[in-house]
């Protein structure tokens, strides 16, 4: 999303003529003045708090009261903190389990929708539907779907003769249960993006391939996928940013349990800040998470760089 503006520099007009230059400066001041409310709000609730977090991460103390400066001590603690390292591992696991599946499902659904002569709009709005429902409500419904004794999912499994699973109570199954929910809830978003990208692929590309004798999966592999690369790149980056910040379903479904098994970094930050009143350490973990997301985004931007035009 950023790269487009990074290399397409608007010509830097610096008028030589002093009168023009003064006028230009006056206009600049005017537009900044009009932008100031939006900029104050956006930066005031993103960059400013972020810088505060970096400062808090170097201190020790609770949300209220004295904070003592301790340097990088929190970072050294974090590097050896078993629960923090577990939440890091969990966060990565959620992302690794969710992203490939959700993007694959979305791609297949978008391709199938595109085959239809009618009702494309209806199916697109249906698959997006779970995303307009508050996560808290979706998660409560999901808690019912996967509940051990009465949940429809276990009833379904049972009708195939499979044993019941204590989805949210068993540490081994709790993460898959949340991943399933994220896939169910989230794939519609990527369907819309990928479908829009599919529509913008010119028909001639397909016709040319067909004249060359390509069929079916071969066309998808050598025409559709390469042309879809920018959109897939965008979806990949968005999915990474979303999934590395996973919080709401953990809060509603498991509160991080059983025994930290489902905790993500975001959840642990919240828990340490607001329940354990351990502001310094919570900020440290937040900063580390931010750096991880930043590094992953930069790598992905580089990987998709030559094509991504966002």
């Amino acid at each position: 999303m950023i790269s487009k503006y990074a290399h397409k520099a608007s010509p830097r007009v610096m008028p030589r003529n002093p009168t023009n230059r003064r006028r230009r400066l006056r206009e600049t001041a005017f537009w900044y003045l009009l932008l100031s409310p939006s900029l104050l709000i956006v930066f005031g609730f993103s960059i400013v708090p972020m810088l505060w977090s970096v400062y808090y991460s170097l201190t020790k103390g609770g949300i209220l009261g004295e904070k003592t400066f301790v340097g990088l001590q929190n970072y050294f603690i974090a590097a050896n903190h078993p629960i923090f390292l577990l939440t890091m591992k969990n966060t990565a696991l959620y992302a690794v389990l969710t992203i490939p599946v959700v993007l694959f499902v979305a791609l297949v659904v978008a391709l199938i929708i595109q085959q239809l002569p009618t009702m494309q709009g209806l199916f697109r709005s249906t698959v997006y539907f779970p995303l307009i429902i508050p996560v808290v409500i979706a998660a409560n419904i999901w808690a019912y779907i996967v509940s051990r004794d009465v949940g429809p999912l276990n009833v379904l499994l049972g009708s195939f003769g499979l044993p019941r699973i204590d989805w949210l109570g068993d540490p081994a199954w709790a993460i898959p249960a949340i991943v399933l929910m994220e896939i169910w809830r989230g794939f519609g978003f990527y369907v819309i993006i990928l479908f829009a990208a599919l529509q913008s692929i010119p028909r001639e590309q397909y016709e040319a391939a067909r004249i060359d004798g390509a069929r079916g999966l071969r066309i998808i592999w050598s025409i559709t996928l390469p042309l879809l690369r920018p959109a897939l790149g965008f979806c990949f980056i968005m999915a990474t940013i979303f999934n590395f910040q996973l919080f709401d379903p953990v809060y509603v479904l498991t509160q991080g349990g059983p025994a930290w098994a489902t905790s993500t970094v975001s959840w642990y930050v919240y828990q340490q800040a607001f329940e354990a009143d351990n502001l310094g350490f919570a900020s440290t973990m937040g900063v580390v998470l931010m750096l991880v997301i930043l590094i992953l985004s930069v790598i992905q931007l580089r990987f998709f760089r030559s094509d991504v035009e966002y």
Binding site: L35, V136, L289
Partner: protein, 286 residues
Amino acid sequence: MLANLGGIKSKRGIFIWRAFCYLILILISLATVVPFLFMFSTSLTESFTMMSYPPTLFPDNPSLANYWEIVFNFQNGLFLRWFFNTIFTTVCITAGSLVLNTLAGYIFAKKEFYGKRMLFILLLSTMMVPGAVTLIPAFLMINKLRLFDTYWAVILPGLASPFGIFMMRQFISSLPTELIEVSKLDGASEFRIFWSIIMPLSLPGMAALGIFTVINSWNSFLWPLVVLRSSTMRTLVVGLSTLKSEYITDYGLIMAGAVLTVVPLIILYTLFQPYFVEGLRMGSGK
């Protein structure tokens, strides 16, 4: 359009292929929507047990008792108060952010000034800052400003967003610049140009952004949870999340509340669906 993706030529082949596609999509649609029908059926079930077994989509004796209970009897109409809080904050955020985001989008789309490119990149990069690092200091800031537990605490951060500015910039970029220059020659002031030329022409984009903003603020959870304390200030989503733990364990009642929370969204989504999809497309930068 791609019916002969598989090289199918006969009419019958195309028919079977399409029927197959419809079937798959109907199954997927059912899988996405059926879980919500359980919410609906549970809300119509009067029971003291947690959930019915075996799970049923059509309760035996459907009744609206849960709805009556949560709207009129629950804590002296607390639910209605939550409803009001949600509508009030959503309306304020949507109205305010439409004006601010459109104005900023217009300036970034059509005006030249020093530092514009850097500023825009900086603005977009704020989207990557995770909530985990902004939540606590933002909460402390709201405390310092003495806005804790007020509507302002919820409204203020929603009044402008990088996503909204980006979306409106994309939309306004496609409007002809000549229009602005002509009205300037006619002596229209900058304010007039924005108000009576840019705003009306941006209405489709604003509709898309508006519906987005409504859904986002209606559903916003973590921030209101943190900055609102008293039970009378809660929004619907925050209120619902506290229901289970604080007051009751009656699932029918909770689900009745959930249905009432999402019905306005579903109506809005159905009405504005074309704008919504268009907005997502614009927001993704296509």
